[in-house]
């Protein structure tokens, strides 16, 4: 099955099937949703297998006329970067469904609505990475806010509606800035040979450097809010704290990647000169994000907020890798996006199980879980090790690549960012020590360990983390040509590695 359109339609069919299940049979609803996501994941893997790794052109290209009056097409196609992210999204989806089997209870609406939202979101997650028409990308970019908004506001906990609104307003604001830039691109394309939204054609536009700078900012701010980069990150901890663990996985693991993906696919491709102009500033923001996110993570008492802040630090690394403008940096950033999806998933899912068992998300309420619930504790430990980029874990490979790629061109930034790794050890080891080790805190004696369903859900995540940690080649073979292509298009050549003797 090699049609991206069909792949996007599958979850929609699944959501129709979910809608058709009788209301009383909640288990059936969940099974249909799980089956759908599994089929989508299998189809994606099949696509990945037939993907030509050395071909840097877009593959699986499809194009249908959508709104000819404005030159808008429903155009999709993927390169190595998009493939990796779609793969990540579709593998995470069944894991989220299985892991959060009971998340949909206690929401404002029925179980059915929850899974319909999840499946519609999955369609959009595939579409947002596959779109090669800027208008189509924008439509999905904005439209996917709505299901997430209802997932947070309807099924979350605590201040869920406030968090959902904050998330939506931030994202809409960024999106509207991007819309202004898109309108400008559209009008310019009309002046230079006919209205179009084709990414390839738009990247050939001639524009003054002032125009390019402004349009770049329109896109970049939208992506920086999404990613999220300091100082536009404030919506994320609230959203992550209020959302269900599964929703958080999709939000941080997939949706936020749209930001970093967009930086590569849209900012760099459409505005190469402006990207170079703004690189110094963006790198500073990235370094601040790394250190700031890490420091705030250390200070968190709430487990979910802690994970959110670690992600801000990690997104700093990804952004730095992108704007280091070296092929290692790019490959590292892309691999980081993939790995971050899984390590965050592991943290959120295991953290979510701990929280739901204990009935509290305060780290101090846990303690001595290692003795009471060894499997859960070990899973959390491994997830934490992945997050702090321990060698042997997948994140290590990508973090290393990003730092190497950055160092050759921006040594100072790379050195400061390296402190982020030290801080990462702190923000992971402190909660690990508090929650897992030491004497068992009162009230924790009778916590149950992971059940079979939860073990099945977490096993593939941890397996992927360790497998990529030891053998990242299969992914890098897909990523490297795409990264080298982007860097070459920008007119950069990798600087020779700095010699230590110099």
């Amino acid at each position: 099955m090699n049609s991206l359109t069909l792949l996007m339609l599958l979850p929609i069919f699944g959501s129709v099937a979910v809608a058709a299940t009788p209301k009383a049979k909640e288990t059936l609803t969940k099974q249909v949703a799980l089956a759908t996501t599994l089929i989508v994941a299998a189809a994606t893997i099949a696509m990945a297998v037939s993907f030509q790794r050395d071909n840097v052109d877009l593959q699986f290209v499809e194009k249908y006329s959508w709104i000819p009056t404005f030159g808008i097409n429903f155009a999709v196609g993927i390169d190595g970067l998009a493939l990796v992210l779609i793969l990540m999204s579709t593998i995470l989806a069944p894991i989220v469904v299985l892991a959060g089997w009971n998340e949909s209870h206690g929401g404002r609406w029925s179980v059915k609505v929850f899974y319909i939202l999840i499946l519609v979101l999955e369609t959009m997650m595939i579409g947002v990475f596959a779109a090669t028409d800027v208008f189509l990308f924008y439509v999905i970019f904005e439209a996917m806010l709505i299901p997430v908004y209802f997932l947070i506001g309807g099924y979350g906990s605590g201040q869920r509606s406030a968090a959902a609104v904050k998330f939506l307003i931030y994202s809409l604001f960024g999106g509207l800035l991007m819309l202004a830039s898109i309108i400008a691109l559209y009008v310019m394309s009309g002046d230079q040979g006919g209205h179009t939204f084709d990414l390839q054609a738009l990247s050939q536009l001639q524009m003054s450097s002032t125009t390019q700078n402004f349009l770049f900012l329109g896109f970049f701010i939208a992506f920086a809010i999404k990613a999220p980069l300091w100082p536009l990150h404030t919506w994320l901890p609230d959203a992550a704290e209020s959302a269900t663990p599964g929703t958080s996985v999709l939000l941080l693991g997939v949706l936020d990647k749209v930001g970093t993906f967009g930086m590569i696919r849209y900012c760099l491709t459409l505005f190469p000169d402006a990207s170079k102009t703004f690189t110094p500033m963006i790198l500073i923001l990235a370094v601040i994000s790394i250190v700031y996110g890490a420091f705030l993570a250390i200070g968190q008492r709430d487990l979910k907020r802690l994970i959110a802040f670690t992600s801000i630090s990690h997104f700093g690394f990804i952004t730095m890798g992108i704007f280091a403008m070296t092929s290692q940096g790019h490959s590292g950033a892309t691999l980081y996006m993939f790995n971050h999806g899984f390590s965050t998933a592991a943290l959120f899912l295991v953290g979510g199980w701990m929280i739901s068992r204990r009935g509290s998300s305060t780290i101090a309420d846990f303690g001595g879980l290692q003795r009471v619930t060894p499997v859960m504790a070990w899973s959390f430990f491994l997830a934490g090790m992945s997050s702090l980029a321990l060698p042997g874990m997948s994140s290590f490979v990508s973090e290393f690549l990003v730092l190497v790629g950055t160092f050759t061109r921006y040594p100072v930034h790379a050195v400061i960012a390296t402190f982020g790794i030290v801080l990462a050890a702190l923000y992971i080891l402190i909660p690990v020590q508090k929650a897992l080790h030491g004497p068992t805190t009162a009230g924790n004696e009778n916590l149950s360990d992971l059940n079979l369903r939860e073990k099945i859900a977490i096993a593939p995540v941890i397996a992927i983390i360790i497998a990529i940690g030891f053998y990242p080649a299969p992914l890098l073979k897909v990523i490297n040509p795409a990264s080298a292509h982007v860097i070459a298009q920008l007119g950069f050549t990798d600087p020779a590695p700095t010699n230590g003797d110099k």
Partner: protein
Amino acid sequence: MEFSAPVLNYTLLSPMLILLGGALIGVLVEAFVSKALRPITQLSVTLGSLVLALVQVWKIRNEQSTGAAMGSVVIDGPAVLLQASILIISIISVFLIADTEQFTALAASLPGSEEERHALQTGNQVTEVYPLTLFAVAGMLLFPVSNDLITLFVALEMLSLPLYLMAGLSRRRRLASQESALKYFLLGAFSSAFFLFGAAFLYGYSASITFAGIRDAVVGSGGNDVFLLIGIAFLSVGLLFKVGAVPFHAWSPDVYQGAPTPVTAFMAAATKVAAFGAMLRIYYTSFANAQWSWTPMLTIIAIITMVFGSLVAIAQRDVKRMLAYSSIAHAGFLLTGVIALNKAGLEASIFYLFAYGITTVGGFAIVTLVRDSAGEVTDLNRWKGLGKRSPWVATAFAGFLLSFAGIPLTSGFIGKFSIFSAAYESGAKSVVIAGVLSSAIAAFFYIRVIVLMFFTDPVEDGTSVVIPSSLTSVTVIFSMIVTIALGVFPAPVLNFISTLATFIR
């Protein structure tokens, strides 16, 4: 003195003539048909006339003529599109007006008087709202096809006078309703005076009252004459009043709130199409060559209108007032289409007007459904938890709000995109940036209503959603389908508009 008989092209004028005929029949029905049969007869006559008029508009869609009524009426592509939009919006509004519960039994009686009570008790419901609607629609059809200032003024009065009356017909809160009608009338009369003043100056400048004559004068003189400037300024005041642009908007929140909701829906949607239609015609044809005299002024007004409307809407606690300020903001967005002054701007404006009009009627149709024992509940705090009580009604309203906010996959987004890109194309970048930013502000208050409906627990105060009548359901469902369809597959409608949307001069 020799008298030459006027030559009228009845085919081209037939949509308006049908409506006027229907309205006169309606007046007779009011007088002669028994009270039991009156509502259904009136409804049939009204709907019949509107549908017939729509069929006629469809038949003349490829006609182009300035000679329909001795040069006073012009029929061309935009005219057909605007007339069809007005008629479709009117038809679905009449479905709402058919709910006689909303209207006072005897408008001529004093509020709270013995007479009124008597009329209510005996079920002696007058139904003059139907012929009034038809008169107003006829005026609205004439407004965007007028080709000289006198016809334009007659059309303006013809659409306004019935609306003044209709605003005062509410059964509940009659005093507020009558107050809003009086306010609307006084301010409307005031703006008509401005309009006439402007028309007089334009005549003084060009020695002609026809649009073509004014255009010729503008082309000949370079468009920088003090008479012309005064004329454009005062004429604009009259038109901007009708579309509710800041600073001529003060009437609209009160009138929207006071008028019976079906009338508000009709007025908000159809008047906007007619007024913007007329505005587009006169600015695109007569004043186009003097654009440097009026685009700066209109740009400032557009920016102020959208920012003001969006900001003040945030503070509203009443759903009808909120929608009123939202319509002010939308008037600002629509003005960018006038400023654009290119074919894309014309097409975008027509699309936007149609899409916005349909969504507006749908939104107000939902408002008519939320009631307690004393009538409609418009206090937003009492809409809390609506999503729990009646998920479908709340979902539909959320859909309309998302369209107002311009979220992709709704008609509002396509409208906004097309109108902003047209404005950008003409170089009006400041308007586009202001438009995008005020859209962000506006999104906030639309989303707040969604939060109230879905994420807040219901309050037990007797607020409930009545089961919609079949006619109201038709309106809601039709509006919803159009809103989504124009958001997902706008291509056929955009193509149709683009083949027709060229003004003839």
